[in-house]
């Protein structure tokens, strides 16, 4: 009997089996983790090839088929998200190898790998799932693993932030579950295909509202962002990178999918979402300007970027929604790569200097040049300077808004850009050490994985801008945005 | 006839439960309350279980109901003991009136 392994199943099972192995054999957990990530990446490449040649593919698990069973479905968008997760995840893992190598981190190392691989299982599961209850289970896996990673350092600040994060995560998931209940009440089925053809009704609107609020909470859209800055800023560097770069994207992805399958009933609602996004851009910008610690600033910038993605989503209003989804998808990818790079380099800077107070950045005797360079590169993409992927995302956002005559969204985007230049400049000013040099400079010693990985990511965030067109056309495979040509 | 006997047994059991509940609410201190609870509920549950066993009409079900009664009785006695023990250890006052 030959056993055939399907890439979609493997994309979920590979990290799961890796997590089990890493938990059983803590001594070689790092090795197992890296091997698992390489294998998962290979599986994703196989899947991408299949999707490229055949379009969207569906796998009925257990052979039952939706709605009774659960289908896995891969299209351009989900494979793009899988690829983002795997690539960013692999590079962050390389950095983690280095930053968790000390004896003091033996315990962190032992638990980092199984938790991270479970997190990967959950995220891959979300990107391939077509069943809303299955999504609920997956976001709970993500939540537990992510909270475990948040409190890896065991500091009191991290534990406090982790507890807040836990409350927000559970509440978000439970709102989602209540929405699942209402969808079942109305439709009697829980698969995406059943949602598309449903007539709108009060119960469905209630379900959609509950689920969307739950996802807002988990993705930290203003004003439900209260848990994010502390959680992301107080985690250890690799965990921050994973949380900010990847984990919030899972909830965003679910939001994108939901709004594709259950069209938002009203333009007012879309505008409201845009207003919340604009609020995030402004409030997050102000807080980033006031932040005292580097990692806090980076965490607030995540709030801003999430807001921007929602602005991108909202800007097209009723007409041409598909376009705005593309801008949002591009911004998600760009932010995932750049933010992971930025958190890793911020962690490096903190490790080298010994603190991450912005106002004292230029007083240290150590100069972590590479990390600072990486931080600046990542900032280029986050600010949205050409030719980075962030620029393409913002550009397609503004282009669409101009075409549709939504000038207010352009104003919000521009304001966000200006503010991000302002708050990142605070950091650059610290890097440049203009006149406050008090001590002789010690250059950073040599290369390390912990520098190479974020540098690769940051360079990638910029270089990907050149490949925006093929990325966009790949994302469109299988019509993830519900629009056939 | 059987039904009548069963119903009156269950009714009597319910009276004991109500008495136990009233005692739980009205008695002054934790030991009196436990007394009301264990005495009334032990007998009340036994009566209800007997009534239901009569109604069930099959030996197997009656046996299972008997088992349930037995384990509930043992568990509730142990729990009451633990509560009383804890209350005494932590210096819970015995009320005078």
């Amino acid at each position: 009997m030959t056993v055939e392994f399907d890439p979609m199943t493997l994309a979920i099972f590979m990290p799961l089996l890796g997590a089990i192995a890493a938990f059983l054999l803590p001594r070689v957990a790092a090795f197992i983790g890296l091997v698992t990530l390489v294998l998962t990446a290979a599986v994703v490449v196989l899947l991408a090839r299949e999707v490229l040649s055949e379009g969207a593919i569906i796998l009925p698990l257990g052979g039952w088929g939706a709605p009774l069973g659960i289908d896995l479905r891969a299209d351009g968008l989900s494979v793009a998200m899988l690829a983002l997760t795997c690539i960013v995840g692999f590079l962050v893992s390389l950095a983690a190898l280095d930053s968790l190598k000390g004896d003091a981190q033996a315990r962190q190392r032992q638990y980092f790998w199984p938790l991270w691989l479970l997190l990967l299982t959950g995220m891959n599961g979300v990107y391939l799932s077509t069943d809303i209850f299955n999504l609920y289970v997956m976001i709970e896996i993500i939540a537990l693993a992510a909270v475990g990673l948040t409190v890896l350092s065991g500091s009191k600040a991290a534990l406090r932030a982790g507890l807040e994060y836990m409350y927000a995560s559970i509440l978000g998931a439970l709102l989602f579950l209540m929405g699942v209940g209402f969808i079942y009440l109305q439709l009697g089925r829980l698969d995406f295909a059943g949602l598309i053809n449903a007539d709108s009704s009060l119960a469905l609107s209630a379900a959609l509202a509950l689920m969307i609020i739950g996802m807002f909470l988990k993705t930290a859209l203003f004003p439900l962002h209260f848990w994010l800055p502390a959680a992301h800023a107080n985690a250890t560097a690799p965990a921050s990178a994973l949380l900010s770069g990847l984990v919030v994207k899972a909830a965003l992805y679910i939001f994108l999918r939901l709004t594709t399958y259950m069209p938002l009933p009203d333009e007012i609602l879309v505008t409201l979402i845009g207003i919340l996004g604009a609020g995030a851009v402004v409030w997050g910008g102000i807080q980033a300007l006031r932040a005292e610690r580097l990692k806090m600033l980076v965490a607030w910038s995540t709030v801003v970027q999430i807001g921007l993605i929602f602005v991108a989503f909202a800007r097209a209003g009723q007409v041409g929604l598909a376009e705005s989804w593309k801008a949002a998808a591009l911004l998600i990818l760009a932010h995932g790569v750049a933010k992971a790079a930025m958190f890793l380099s911020a962690g490096r800077i903190k490790d080298e200097i010994g603190h991450d107070l912005i106002r004292d950045l230029d007083r240290s005797s150590v100069r972590p040049t590479l990390a600072q360079f990486t931080f600046a590169l990542a900032a280029i993409s986050l600010i949205g300077l050409p030719p980075s992927l962030g620029f393409i995302g913002k550009w397609s956002l503004m282009e669409g808004a101009m075409a549709a005559g939504y000038w207010h969204w352009i104003a919000v985007t521009m304001a966000g850009t200006l503010m991000s230049i302002a708050y990142f400049s605070r950091v650059f000013a610290g890097f440049l050490r203009f006149d406050r040099v008090r001590t002789p400079v010690t250059e950073h010693q040599g290369w390390a994985y912990a520098d190479a990985a974020p540098l690769t990511l940051a360079a990638g965030a910029i270089a990907l801008g050149f490949f925006a067109a093929p990325i966009l056309s790949f994302i469109e495979i299988g019509y993830p945005f519900g629009v056939a040509p | 006839m059987l039904e009548l006997v069963a119903a009156s047994l269950i009714g009597l059991g319910a009276v004991f439960f109500i008495a136990g509940t009233v005692g739980l609410l009205r008695f002054p201190d934790i030991f009196c309350r436990l007394h009301a609870l264990t005495k009334a509920d032990g007998l009340g549950l036994a009566l209800v279980a007997l009534g239901v066993a009569l109604l069930s009409g099959s030996m197997g079900d009656a046996f299972r109901i008997g088992l349930i009664w037995f384990f509930v009785a043992v568990a509730s006695a142990t729990c009451s003991h633990l509560i009383a023990r804890y209350a005494r250890a932590s210096g819970e006052a015995v009320s005078d009136d």
Binding site: F5, T9, L16, R107, L144, V147, L185, G188, A206 | V74
Partner: protein
């Protein structure tokens, strides 16, 4: 002529809601937990009324029993570290920042609006509307089991169930990760009556748990309910100190945690082939495969739940209480 059961339903529903309010309203935390346990048991009773005995069993055993034990253990620990273990009623032992009154009222108003909206939406939804029933009825003969809920859990939606076991695994890893270097609250001394009860109850619980697992194929019960009941054995053993986790047992514990997940995942993957996909059990082996998975998963669930109750990973005595084992 109203059905007398409707009155019972109304009373039960009113008690459930009143208890929910009381859980949040009562000042003493211990009382809140006890009320929560009663709330859980009455919810389980409501679900029996809605002809969902499996769910009621699971809620009573896991949602109320195990959760209640976890909550009480946590309260005990909190009172220990805050030095209020000897006081009669520790009120709020874990204060958060005080929430301004205006915020509370705004939240309450917001929740009131949500309630009205949900109630309206519930009324608007078709009552006893469409469902999976016909699909399940069609597929049951090929499922390998007779009890529909077990069929759904371990065959039609086995993927969800696997992921649910993964959630348990993630929880126990996270708990081991989180709890470290904490001094243990002294276990209460329970006395001889308790020891005698444990001797009597232990074998009975083992029998009940195994029975629940075994009967799951054709009647209410199954891996989760059975596992939760068996976890009670673990709780009893831990509470009576008949079993004290030792550092040397860590490897075995790790193995036990992943046993169910690993076996489930392996079976799910290995049945693929010959035109079948993952989780598609060959019909002739479906029953034995499901029983195998259920048995192993039950062991994992029981040990995982007991470990979640125990909390931290067993550590060597020398590092116990030390802060430097980060």
């Amino acid at each position: 002529m109203t059905d007398p059961l409707v009155i019972f339903d109304l009373l039960l529903a009113a008690s459930v809601v009143a208890l929910a309010v009381a859980v949040l309203g009562v000042r003493d935390l211990f009382a809140a937990i006890v009320l929560f346990v009663i709330f859980g048991l009455l919810s389980a009773l409501s679900w029996v009324r809605l002809s969902a005995p499996d769910v009621a069993l699971a809620e009573a055993a896991i949602g109320t029993g195990v959760t209640g034990a976890l909550l009480l253990k946590t309260l005990h620990h909190l009172r220990f570290v805050s030095g209020t273990l000897d006081q009669q009623a520790a009120l709020s032992v874990t204060p958060l920042l005080p929430v301004p009154g205006a915020v509370i009222w705004a939240n309450a108003a917001f929740c009131g609006l949500i309630t009205l909206g949900l109630a309206a939406a519930f009324l608007g939804a078709p009552q006893a509307g469409p469902g999976f029933d016909p699909l399940v009825a069609d597929a049951m003969p090929q499922s390998g089991v007779e009890h529909p809920v077990t069929g759904v859990l371990l065959n039609f939606r086995a993927y969800d169930t696997l992921m649910e076991v993964v959630v348990l695994l993630a929880a126990v890893i996270a708990v081991w990760q989180i709890e470290r270097g904490m001094s243990d609250a002294p276990a209460p001394v329970m006395g001889e009556v308790w020891q005698g009860f444990a001797r009597l109850a232990l074998p009975a619980i083992v029998v009940v748990g195994t029975y629940l697992l075994w009967v799951g194929a054709e009647a209410p019960g199954g891996a989760f309910q059975g596992g939760a009941v068996l976890a009670a054995v673990g709780l009893l053993l831990l509470l009576t100190r008949a079993y004290v986790p030792r550092p040397a047992h860590r490897g075995i514990a790790r193995g036990a945690f992943v046993l169910g997940t690993g076996a489930f995942a392996a079976v799910a993957l290995l049945v693929a082939g010959g035109g079948r996909v993952a989780f598609e059990y060959p019909p002739e082996h479906a029953k034995s495969l499901i029983l195998l998975i259920e048995g192993l998963v039950t062991i994992s669930i029981a040990i995982t739940l007991a470990a979640l109750f125990h909390g931290r990973e067993p550590v060597a005595l020398s590092t116990q209480g030390g802060r430097n084992d980060t």
